[in-house]
């Protein structure tokens, strides 16, 4: 008896698809930039067709060698990284990574990094005729000297770079925001004023780990970006604040490990979510999150995931 409703819900179709800027994603679960490459390495173990989108590792106008090693350190409930946006450059990326991802039934969001407005614009223009669905502009990487977070912490710079990018972008533009700010709603408003089509938040929080036995910094870069479940409550709070402030769709990320974490983010105002560091904890984390959201909808008799978006606002 008790189980019948569930059984019926199993049969009942639930909608897990969401729309952002008129683009439909089969489910709200994406991969966070920098944790999933361009999907090739994970495709051995993960069915990319189960994902709403693959968000690629950041790509610049030219190849970047990244930072010296060690580039990562584990911390309590999370990790620090200072990879420094190593990437093969946009040319090889367009020749190799995009065609690879096109083989799968999932959306393609290209994360774009740069050291100057011109860098970002060059990449965005190069992508104009490429078969990618959206662009995510990384103005919040804490691990590069120029560009990155330098832009992301200054509202004027955020608005300026957003409008520069928008002028040249053929695809909808997502601005990825840094949590290392006093008031993230101010940054979000600046991105909106600059014409952003959507927002991604949060990027990593700047952290540091010291090896007390060797009495040295664990990361060659001294500081790195803190990610993983440790930062999830901060990410949920910021998504909630931004969702109340701007009318742009939000892709929520930051410490999402399980479907429960993802649903928290959606209830707080995210239309979609990205699974990042959790891919290192379990190669199937993103697939499981997608499955878990579907299970949750069935269990609660909710026909459409979109009913959950911002339900707590």
């Amino acid at each position: 008896m008790n189980k019948n409703p569930d059984r019926n819900m199993e049969k009942a179709a639930v909608n897990t698809s969401v729309q952002i800027c008129g683009i439909t994603f089969k489910n709200p679960v994406m991969t966070a930039s920098g944790t999933f490459g361009s999907g090739e390495e994970y495709s051995e173990l993960v069915d990319l067709n189960r994902l709403g989108a693959v968000v690629t590792k950041g790509v610049a106008n030219v190849p970047w060698p990244g930072n010296p090693t060690p580039r990562v350190a584990e911390v309590y409930g999370g990790m620090l990284n200072a990879v420094g946006l190593q990437n093969p450059g946009i040319e090889l990326f367009c020749k190799r990574d995009i065609p690879f991802l096109r083989r799968f039934d999932t959306r393609i969001i290209v994360n774009v990094c740069g050291k100057s407005a011109a860098d970002y614009c060059e990449v965005v223009e190069r992508l104009a005729n490429e078969p990618v669905d959206m662009l995510e502009i990384n103005i919040s990487c804490p691990n590069v000297k120029e560009g990155g977070i330098a832009f992301g912490q200054d509202p004027k710079a955020v608005e300026a770079i957003t409008s520069e990018v928008k002028k040249r972008a053929a695809q909808p533009v997502i601005m990825k925001l840094s949590p290392n700010v006093t008031d993230i709603t101010e940054i979000a408003r600046a991105a909106e004023a600059g014409g952003a089509d959507a927002l991604s938040l949060i990027n990593t929080l700047t952290g540091m780990k010291i090896d007390i036995e060797r009495r040295t910094f664990v990361l060659a870069n001294k500081t790195g970006g803190l990610s993983g479940p440790a930062i999830h409550p901060i990410a949920v709070r910021m998504v909630y604040q931004v969702a109340q402030t701007v009318s742009l769709p939000i892709i929520g990320m930051g410490g999402i490990v399980t479907a429960e974490d993802a649903i928290e983010m959606i209830l707080a105002g995210a239309t979609a979510v990205s699974v990042g560091t959790a891919n290192f904890m379990d190669v199937h984390a993103a697939e499981k999150a997608a499955d878990g959201i579907e299970d949750y909808l069935r269990r609660h008799g909710i026909a459409d995931v979109r009913e959950l978006v911002g339900a707590l606002l």
Partner: protein, 261 residues
């Protein structure tokens, strides 16, 4: 079949074989069937406070039994957790990972230093099996306490170096090579960076081929996150810059192609 397997592996047995050195055998048929010398696996912790897998090199692979043998040193909280695993416990594992050693069909030195010693055992076994007629010598460098020595002796001629001289040659593996007037065409080695640097130089002087297994802090372990790279002489076709992924193109590299910092 897929190249990698991820899942829960049953602990067949575990024993402490040295000061902080543990000897763990896992039932992992799919990994044992695919793996080869020089590859490694990722072990996942139970404790949620530790989120990253630990890379552990394969000390022995028994495809028949479907087991893999891991000999590791307790270096932190993660490996401390592993050292508590008992027969019948389950541990989540992903592998095999990395490229492994390539066989050159030439006389070889198999050189291990410290916790770099274990992977050379599987290499010795595979060389004996695949290249029975080629001669190879095993040179093992310990600080003081020896481990796995009997397993190595079962595979052929073993030379030992100890920092404190408590056994074999007093000094490092190169001292043992010189003291015993050893020679070969190829070096296969795994161990601390100073040893690897010295072996690279030694191989150049003596016009030997040299293959080194490198270590670096890893995150994904499969080549996606670009955490564990090493500098290379030439631009790498995948990264398109002058570095390679240790967990993917490595951990074994031709000494000539990498820059050892």
């Amino acid at each position: 079949m897929a190249n990698k397997w991820e899942g829960q592996a049953l602990v067949r047995k575990q024993a402490q074989i040295g000061d902080g050195i543990f000897d763990l055998t896992l039932q992992a048929d799919e990994i044992a069937a695919r793996a080869r010398a020089g590859q490694f696996v990722s072990l996942y912790c139970r404790d949620g406070a530790r989120i990253l897998p630990r890379p552990v090199s394969l000390c022995e692979i028994n495809a028949g039994e479907g087991t893999i043998r891991l000999v590791y040193r307790v270096a932190g909280k993660g490996t401390k957790e592993f050292s508590g695993l008992r027969e019948g416990d389950a541990v989540r594992v992903l592998g095999p990972l990395g490229n492994g050693f390539s066989f050159r069909g030439k006389s070889a030195f198999l050189i291990g230093g410290g916790i770099g010693i274990p992977p050379m055992l599987e290499l010795a076994k595979e060389l004996n099996e695949k290249e029975p007629q080629t001669e190879h010598k095993m040179i093992l460098g310990y600080r003081s306490e020896r481990f796995l020595l009997e397993d190595f002796r079962a595979q052929g001629e073993v030379f030992v170096a100890t920092e404190d001289g408590s056994a074999g040659t007093k000094g490092n593996v190169l001292d043992a090579i010189r003291e015993n007037h050893l020679s070969a065409d190829v070096i296969y080695a795994c161990g601390p960076m100073p040893m690897l640097r010295a072996l690279k130089a030694y191989a150049q002087e003596n016009r030997m081929e040299c293959f080194l297994s490198l270590e670096e802090r890893m995150a994904c372990g499969i080549g996606a996150c670009l955490a564990c790279v090493c500098k290379t002489k030439e631009t790498d076709p995948h990264t398109n810059v002058r570095n390679k992924r240790i967990c993917k193109e490595g951990p074994v590299f031709d000494a000539g192609e990498v820059e050892l910092s």
